[in-house]
Structure formats: C-alpha cells, structure tokens
C-alpha cells in the first residue's frame, strides 16, 4: 500500500459520527455530497481547507456513536488519506476497514502531533513520521486477516476474491 502523506487536522476525544456527518444530511448517500458537510458541526473550516492526502489526528474513541458508514465515506471522499487516533470506536473501526479508509491507532504519535504538521504513514510497517518535527512512532499494525481486506480495498472485493 502506498504511504499516506499530508497536513494534519487535529481533534480531541470522542469525535462522534454525528459531528463527522450530521444526520440532517443522511437523506443522501452520495459520497461527494456527504464530503461537503464533513466535520461541519465541530469545524466549519475543515471542508474549506482540506486537500487531497490530508490526515486527521484525534485522541481517544474517534468515531463513537452511530453505525453510519456515511462517516468514514464522507472522510474518505473529502480526500483524507488516513486517520490516526489513540483509539477508535469499534463500529467506525470496522467500517473504515470495510470501505478502505486507512486508519491507525498510536497513542504516542497522537500526543506529539499538532494541527498543521506534515505527517507520513507507512501502512506496511505501521511507522508514522512527523516530517515537521522530525520524530517517528510505531503504530499498531493490523492483524493479517484485516490486512487482506485492506489489500483487497474493502470487504466487497475481498468476498468476491474468495
């Protein structure tokens, strides 16, 4: 898998799926339309500033709340190449893998990354490099089973390949 590299948007604990994509927009399931409202209830600047490849970094329990797959879909469609968090809520974790949004858990990296830093992630090794600060961290690599789903770019392709 190719490395992710981009500028960091930094958020705190318990970023829930209602702020990632508010339910008032769930009458659509179009990724591009969902992306235009991504994060707007906690960060109105996000959709104006986000560029292809950018990275979201958050503290614990990212993606808690609703099971809406629209949340990782909106983040991916907004151009985000990776989400790094101390921990992810479990449904969000599954959904991200299933739709092919790269995510990685690493409490150490999260503590030392600030908004605006340039960060690079190597998914094969789980290494996270803060190019702004010149530091590096070892993230939690996926178990082999999940790597297969990610390598197939999601659960649908994985099942088709079986």
């Amino acid at each position: 898998m190719e490395n992710a590299i981009g500028t960091v948007f930094r958020y705190g604990d318990n970023v829930d799926t209602d702020v990632i994509i508010p339910a008032r927009y769930l009458n659509s399931s179009d990724p591009a339309e969902l992306a235009t409202h991504c994060m707007e209830d906690i960060d109105t600047e996000f959709v104006k500033k986000v560029k292809k490849g950018d990275i979201i970094v958050a503290d614990k329990n990212f993606g808690c709340g609703s099971s809406r797959e629209h949340a990782p879909i909106a983040i991916k469609a907004a151009g985000v190449s990776c989400v790094i968090a101390e921990t992810f809520a479990r449904i969000f974790y599954r959904n991200a893998i299933n739709i092919g949004l790269p995510i990685i858990e690493c409490p150490e990296a999260v503590k030392n990354i600030e908004a605006g830093d340039t960060v690079e992630v190597n998914f094969d090794t789980g290494m996270i490099y803060n190019r702004t600060k010149g530091t590096e961290y070892k993230g939690q690599a996926f178990p082999p089973f999940m790597q297969k789903i990610i390598a197939a770019q999601g659960l649908v392709n994985y099942i088709n390949q079986k």
Partner: protein
Amino acid sequence: MGMTMTQKILAAHAGLDKVEAGQLIEANLDLVLGNDITSPVAIKEMSKMKVDGVFDKDKIALVPDHFVPNKDIKSAEHCKCVREFAYRNQITNYFEVGQMGIEHALLPEKGLTVAGDVIIGADSHTCTYGALGAFSTGVGSTDMAAGMATGKAWFKVPGAIKFNLVGKPNKYISGKDVILHIIGMIGVDGALYKSMEFVGEGIKNLSMDDRFTIANMAIEAGGKNGIFPVDEKAIAYMEEHSTKKYTVYEADEDAVYDEEYTIDLSTLKSTVAFPHLPENTHTIDEIDPELKIDQVVIGSCTNGRIDDLRCAAEILKGRKVAKGMRLIVIPATQAIYLQAMEEGLLKIFIEAGGVVSTPTCGPCLGGYMGILAENERCVSTTNRNFVGRMGHVTSEIYLASPAVAAASAITGHISDPAKL
C-alpha cells in the same frame, strides 16, 4: 479458562468448541437487520458482489424507521430503494408504514430475536437484543451487505466486563437510570471493544423493558454488546412473542472478566446525562432547579416501550405541561401505540398538552418531528446528546428516564418525579 456468555454464543456459531478474547472468527448469522438510512448503502454494496441474491430471505429484517413516514423526497427515494429490494428478494420481514416500528422495539416484539442468536444490524443500537440473551451488535452497511449475501460476519472475540446487579430499584428508578449510572461510572469508551455482561440477583427486579433499555445503551459505553442471562421473565417474553427455537447459554464459572463492578440498584437515584456526552451524568438532587427546558421527547429505541409510556402517563395524569413546553410522545411500534390507546395513555398525554406521533426515530437523531432551534434545551429519553444531535449545534440535550422527562414537562425544569 472458561468462556463468557458472549464467547459461548460466538463459539457455537463459528463451529468451534472454544474461543478466547482477541481471536478472529467467522460466525453464522441468525438475523441481519437494516433501516432506511443504512440499507440503501448496503444494497448498493451488495450489487457489487458476485452473488445471486440474499443468503436466506427469512433471516433478513428491513425496517424503514429513521425518516419514515418519508420526511422529504430524498428520504422517500431511500425508502423506495429498500422497498424494491425487499420485494425483489422476497424478504419475509420487511415492515412497511402501518406495520413498522422503531427497529429495536419491533424485532423482539415480532419474535425475530431470541436467546442464543447471533444478530448483526446496520444500526448501532442493535445491541438491544442482548436483553433476551442473544449476541447482537451494530455494524456498518458493508458488513450488512456481506451478511445479507453470505449469512456470515467476521468478529474479533470480545473480552468482557461483568456488572453484578443487586437489590431492588426504588419507585421511578428504571433501566435508564441504571445504564446512565454505569456510563457515568465507566465513560463513553469504558467498555470499548468489550461485551458488557449483566448478572446478579437484582436482575429479577428489572422488567424486560428495563433490560432492553440497558442493553440498548451498551454502545454508549463503547461496548460491542450488552447481554443478560435468560431467566423466567425472558423466557416468558419469548414464549409470548416468538415461535423461534431459542438456546440458553450461560457463562462458565471460571470465565475471565477484564473488570467487575457491583451495583446496588436500591441506592440509585434518577440520573440525567448533560450535554454533550452520555457520560456527563448528574443525579437528580444535584441539578440546578432553574435550568429552563423548551422541549421534552419521550420515545426512541431506548425508551418508547409500553412500560415507558405507562410510567410517563402515571406522572402526567390530570396535570398540564408547563407554559411554552413542547411535549412529544412517540410510541415505538404500532402495537405499543395501540396498547397505549386502549389503556387510555394517549388521552392522558394529549389532555396534558402533549402531541403523540406515529412510530419514528425522528427527533432522536435530528431527523424531523422535533428539531431544536439555537440554544434550545430538550429533556429526552433517547440515547445520545452529542453536539447538534437533535438540531442546532448550540442546542442541548439532557438524557433522562421517562419519569424524569414527564416530570420535567410539567415543571419546565429538570425535575424529580418523586417530588412533584
């Protein structure tokens, strides 16, 4: 090393004698659920799979409930997509307006969820069926698609937290107070990736509706599932509602738990979760009595069942809501609605100055039927009080029991039902 109740159910459905926490397994599914928001995405994903159709037309439940009756044209298109898929695949358990209800109240009532089942649903509150001794958990649309196509899902076997419930709750203390107390204690990620296993002699003092409420909000503590042992009350409920065969699993005596808590139900007070997280709990005696409330919602998959409506009606009977208060009551299913009508509960709500809605998730997720304006406050029996959940980003949601909600509708402030 023994297995927890959840681990035993998962092992049996994976064809294994034994599983342990952290193990990745593939389990056979007894039921796959979706609603009008998550199913259209699942249907689209399933169309990309090389399969002829669904794995079993009797083991899929499609319940349009979030924006139903259709709130706008886009919602109507989503519902149409679900309806056409259901007809095309001859889905037995598709519930149209008129038969539908809020999915997690509806499925147990229709007898589709029983002890020992493994159930996935593309809705986070799918964990509700743990009240009957099933393993049930929320997933996303792609998992739902794979489940509909193959009848299987992958799981990481969860570790567990044991909650030993003892004693008898006082009047007006319900399942909602129990689960809010627990979430306040362990936090919104306190049970992350784990099962919450409820045990203890105190369970006999909790009605099935109390247990549904408790299992329903396991997700608000980050839990993978919440689960109760199968006792006489659970068996009586299943025998009344279902013809499906159920299987009773019990945790091994030497099952391993990551943490254990004992909760004396007799000491619990009415508990309210303040904005903007379910863990921000306060007991009723420590709440500012002057906090003005604009709206009260009594309903949802958490608290829209008949016990909840009876409790609210008992408090509202012969009283009026406060001036300027909007009270919205939403029976969770058609059967509950009818029961409430026959018992005279709807008359009580309407005479008190409230409105009664057809079953819908509606305001709980800020869909419609009770959206909040800037800076407005709502006491709600729903399950989440995140920023913007019920409307404007500056609006506030206070999660509470039906008893506290009804009392607050009368006074216009967050109030103790025991002190009216």
